[in-house]
Amino acid sequence: MKKVLEGSHAVSHAVALARVKVISAYPITPQTHIVERLAELVANGELDARYIRVESEHSALAAVIGSAATGVRSFTASSSHGLALMHEMLHWAAGSRLPIVLAEVNRALGAPWNIWADQTDSLAQRDTGWLQFYCEDVQEVLDSILLAYRLGEEISLPVMVVFDAFFLSHTYEPVDVPEQEKVDQFLPPWQPTEQLDPLNPRALNQLASPEYYMEFRYKIQQAMEQALTSYPQIDGEFFKLFGRSYPLVDRIPAVAGKQASLALVTSGSITGTARVAQEELLQQGVAVDLVKVRSFRPFPLQQIREILGGYPRIAVIDRNISFGSGGIFAREIAGALASLPQRPQLYPFVAGLGGRDVTQQSIAEMVRRALSDAPPEDVLWAGLKA
């Protein structure tokens, strides 16, 4: 059924469709609309779940670690400082192999205070063992929640569904809300392999000596690798049921069947703007292929090499920065391409930090810079004030 939904409410409705049983969250702008609507759905009986109003994000994630360890589908949501406070428990969720889903609204970190879009908060959680999917529009946000539970429960890892503050969280878009019956078909009840059960007492997460710890880590890496092969199958099944598909990496050529001389790599809501820029540039005679990276963890190294390896030049737009290194997607892509005998020239742009607008004009400007004779640098700033 088509509905006009705010990005945040699309998440809430997806959580209800997923028949989540325990929700725990702490409010932070711009995540609040997600949890407010969920509290409402629980209160009015539309969603048969327990909502735990905790006193911090650290406790929010701890609470759903407790509920998921007891074998019950669980959800939380956060953003920015909230996600940073969860950092310790992000490790515990992944280490405990619990398929919790977390809706993460990309917001800049202080200091200074800023509540607008910036990906550094989630990218800083790179090494916690969570899968991370970056969404382009509200429909993708809704669908990703369902895909996240299905995939997370198959490989026993937690999943972050990531989307931009305000550009998606507070924007209304027409959305196809799937029917409950079809969602139930796609996402059957979770059957955990281990859970806290007095009839079958086990200790979870006890001390693992050097004799065992490394194998625990190895298995998480294996699960991440398995996600790369499981996901396309799950996505294919999703396509059959709902008619929509979200590849881990997607190439959108300027001209069908042709390869342009430049690939522009984006993630998140910038991709939507880049699609418009791509069309406008083509009208001006500049062909640029667009490559949308949806999955940051696992990072689809092989697909990145296959899709991007053949381009003479690639430009990456990062709405994030790792200080002292540069744009985080760009650095990951450079790492993926490093094993190729011949590599594209990389133009790594940092743009749109703290919610600064990245318009089709500014994207066109970055494309022109990447196609010019200017030598590439390790960090190229876009839209910076003089």
């Binding site: 725990s24 407790g66 007891t70 428990m89 006890q206």
Partner: protein, 291 residues
């Protein structure tokens, strides 16, 4: 009034505690009181080690080992999950040390208590961070030597009154207990198990290693701490109804302090100050219990 302590043991042999460890005696009697229809959440504390490393466990109940600050929150999540399954019988128990209760875990405990989560929170109190090597905590008494409050500058403030903090949350049940009074301890666990909402039991659990005492006097200390009125045994219902359980003899605190290496450096002046604090606390409790 003596009660029968169940004979069934829920701890396997081969746990990793030091000789004379009060925390093991506490666990043994708590599990006797609870039976095996319980799930434990254990934030970082001595019991993270005592319970045994992977792939072993010394406990016959399910355990979720978890991060230091999460005792109240993790238990809330386990409870919520059991509720959605319709399991009202299983007791959800947080088993935390004094550091995980008085200090780093206080926020999540307070959150759980404010929501009146249906959990039993047990703090076994050995009065310092023992697992990491005897560092001072909010539960460390005035004048105590620890590795972060050396003899030249021992703990300069008194022990945090966690019972008052919990009573202020108006939770249905809060009680103190000592490992040297097993019937009283088991009775309190059984009583707590019958009550819905947040229940808190504060158990005195000596640490011979960190207190610099011989391992065979743990139980003796557990008795003296009550007899000297340093750690009175009492219950608080709904934050207001106080009951004193043992009419303590009122030995002078020296009987307790003189046995422990961690207090060896204390001078008369400090001991007198502590005696005054103990007397004042006892008077206050007696008044509250008389209301």
């Amino acid at each position: 009034m003596p009660i029968e302590v169940p004979a069934k043991e829920s701890i396997h042999p081969g746990h990793l505690a030091c000789p004379g460890c009060g925390a093991v005696i506490a666990m043994r009697f708590v599990l006797k009181g609870l039976g095996e229809k319980a799930i434990l959440a254990i934030p970082a504390c001595c019991w993270s080690i005592i319970a045994g490393p992977f792939p072993y466990t010394a406990l016959k109940v399910p355990v979720l080992h978890t991060a230091f600050a999460t005792g109240g929150a993790v238990a809330s999540g386990i409870r919520a999950a059991l509720d959605t399954k319709g399991d009202e019988e299983t007791q959800v128990v947080t088993w935390a040390g004094d550091g995980g209760t008085f200090d780093i875990g206080l926020q999540s405990l307070s959150g759980a208590a404010e929501r009146n989560e249906n959990i039993l929170y047990i703090c076994y109190d050995n009065e310092a961070y023992m697992n990491t090597g005897v560092q001072s905590s909010g539960a460390t008494p005035l004048g105590t030597w620890t590795t972060t409050s050396p003899v030249s500058m021992p703990k300069s403030t008194r022990k945090k009154d966690i019972m008052q903090i919990m009573a202020a949350h108006r939770i249905p049940y809060a009680a103190t207990a000592s490992i040297a009074y097993p019937e009283d301890l088991v009775r309190k666990v059984q009583k707590a198990a019958e009550i819905k909402g947040t229940r808190f039991i504060h158990i005195y659990a000596p640490c011979p290693t960190g207190w610099k005492v011989p391992s065979e006097i743990s139980v003796r200390l557990g008795r003296l701490v009550v007899q000297t009125r340093i750690f009175p045994l009492y219950e608080v219902e709904n934050g207001v109804r106080y009951t004193l359980n043992e009419d303590s003899v009122g030995y002078l605190i020296d009987e307790y302090y003189k046995l422990q290496g961690r207090f060896k450096h204390l001078e008369r002046e400090t001991l007198d100050e502590i005696q005054l604090q103990v007397d004042e606390q006892w008077d206050r409790l007696k008044k509250l219990a008389a209301l």
